[in-house]
């Protein structure tokens, strides 16, 4: 049976599950809205993916990434648990080898990654502000009564230019409302918003750095043609959106798991597709051992403690030796 590698990206807005073969070809990809329930989303994703590949392939490695990478890594038995920056860049380097700059905009964070000859040379992530990320666009789409899927098309239909303040979502929203009151159409407002977000992104993350083409735009927000057009306008260059733009993090972690397994010769820790049915209970408590009152997260599998973390002193973390 041919080998297959799984990658899971657990983000704030979407949970993505992919399977790739030994040549990094995508065999299955699942994009699922997290809706605040990362574990359920992963289970759904795994089950759907199983239908695509089970019986035909053997899982040889699993990688997880995203803000929920640790929890899900334990649940599924991941071989590699990696940060989002490394995962995203790994995927891009494989699928768009010529790329020099990656724009990645996700649900709650945005990053810019600089590459040179297939290596990351620098990166930046949004710091204290989430202006311009997917959640904000979602919110605005809802407020304007437009399905988020059509957001980009609206922007492309704009007739006139209107400038929206993009530095801060609070100001952007009040600016949008006043521009609506001046009589600008929804299309124009949305286009103005796309341009403002791109301006803000470049000023915030690209500040003082040399941004070199070819550009790749990925992450959930890359589905938005309006934002892509705004990037191209701002930079005066073509911006590539890769075929699997919305699951690049998952693809990267799958590739990393493949590299890891090949590099070390380890057999995978994958718990099998049945992991999706394992009863898996996360809980948290406030440790009263000292005045730090750490919030400790505890994960139980079939009533047995599988992992704990969140404690500063590692008292609880170390109490669970291996899984």
């Amino acid at each position: 049976m041919d080998k297959v590698y799984l990658g899971i990206d657990v983000g704030s807005v979407s949970t993505n599950v992919v399977a790739i073969d030994e040549n990094n070809r995508v065999l299955s990809k699942q994009y699922i809205r997290t809706n605040g329930q990362p574990l359920e989303s992963v289970k759904t994703g795994i089950k759907k993916l199983k239908n695509d590949i089970d019986g035909k392939y053997k899982v040889a490695g699993v990688g997880t990434t995203g803000s929920g990478r640790q929890l899900v890594g334990i649940m599924i038995g991941a071989d590699v648990i990696k940060n989002e920056i490394t995962a995203h860049a790994t995927a891009t380097i494989n699928y768009v080898p010529s790329a020099n700059t990656i724009f990645e905009i996700g649900g709650q964070d945005s990053k810019i990654i600089f590459l040179d000859k297939g290596l990351i040379t620098d990166f930046a992530m949004n710091t204290v502000c989430a202006a311009g990320t997917g959640s904000f666009l979602d919110h605005q789409a809802e407020r304007l009564g437009i399905p988020i899927q059509q957001f980009g098309d609206y922007a492309l239909r704009a007739q006139r230019k209107v400038r929206i303040a993009g530095r801060c979502t609070v100001f952007a929203e009040s600016d949008m409302i006043s521009k609506q009151q001046f009589g600008f159409s929804k299309e124009e407002i949305i286009n103005g918003l796309c341009e403002a977000l791109v301006r803000n992104y470049i000023n915030n993350l690209g500040r003082g750095k040399k941004i070199r083409p070819p550009y790749v735009f990925q992450g959930g927000v890359a589905a938005n043609a309006g934002i892509r057009a705004a990037f191209e306008k701002e930079l005066g260059e073509q911006v590539t959106v890769p075929e699997y733009f919305d699951v690049m993090g998952a693809l990267g972690s799958a590739i990393l798991s493949k590299e890891y397994v090949e590099h070390t010769g380890h057999t995978t820790k994958f718990r099998g597709f049945e992991a999706a049915d394992i009863e898996f209970t996360p809980s948290s408590f406030e440790c009263s051992g000292c005045s730090n009152l750490c919030e400790v997260i505890k994960v139980e599998i079939n009533g047995e403690t599988a992992a704990m973390w969140g404690d500063k002193c590692a008292k609880w973390t170390n109490s669970v030796k291996s899984i």
């Binding site: 640790q70 590699v80 940060n83 920056i85 290596l119 992530m125 040399k210 990393l256 070390t264 730090n292």
Partner: protein, 343 residues
Amino acid sequence: MRVGIPRGLLYQYYYPFWKTFFEELKVEIIVSSPTTKEIVNKGIEFSVPEICVPMKVYTGHVEQIIDKVDYVFIPRMVSISDKEYFCPKFMGLPDMIKYTVPGALNKILSPKIKSDSDSIANPKFYGELKSRLGISTWDLHRALKKADKAWNNFRALSKKGYILTDALDIFEGKKVPSKEPTFKDGEVTIGILGYVYDIYDPFISMDITDKLKELNVNVLTFEMLEDQAIKDSIKFMHKKLFWTFSNKLLGAGYHFYQNPKVDGIIQVTAFNCGPDSMIGKMLELESNHFEKPFMTVRIDEHTGESHLQTRVEAFIDMIRRKKMAGGVSRESNLSPYGLNTSI
């Protein structure tokens, strides 16, 4: 008589001096506990709102011990280098504490330190203590001399390459110095830039030095460098910065850029630190010139560690992969793959 020493701000740099000084004077000292969430919360409650997090944390430390002591020792740090000064918040700190922490008004000992070097042993700074603690000129001189010696021994440990927390433990006799501080050849070496009260307060920096050690990274900091080396590396500037420790960090930054052993620099800065906005920008711009990666990690009151973890991990991954591609790797321990250790 009991004097309290808050475990914040320059505690990490001058504690061996202060401790020896008061012990020589037969004054009992009480040091506040390592920073906890409760201290941070109290600090936020009792400090002025628009101030940086290390100042808030310090305020919390004062609050913790104020009722247990006769005095709290809060020197007014004005200068420790010619024509350079401390951030104005340090100069105003004793006054700020006096009027914000309940019960502090008449309990603050604040000798004014205006030295031309890192040594703070000049007796003329400490006149105030003679009357308030009832000590003779002779005793003051003797205690300062001893304190200065102890402090120099402690500084020598840093310069040997011990991380400050280890140097303090060795000073207090909690740890025996090993032959050499461990520096692993062939591994990634990171220069960390940040004030001692940010980097070495485990609560503020979320233990960034430990996180790096877990990733098998060698750590260098400014206090490990010779003062002269720091000064030399910013000699080219037409004008120094006003702020002493900021000059030290800037000098250390340039030194790290020029040191072939150092693979990258991480600046740890507290949100809204004025001087850091200056040195951070300068070093960020130099990063291209020296072709070494530079990253700023901004910290505040929040306790979410994941943003720090993600950035630090990605930064180290980046450097490791580059090293591997450059062919300097030793197969076994330079693998960029594998589980991270953060669970």
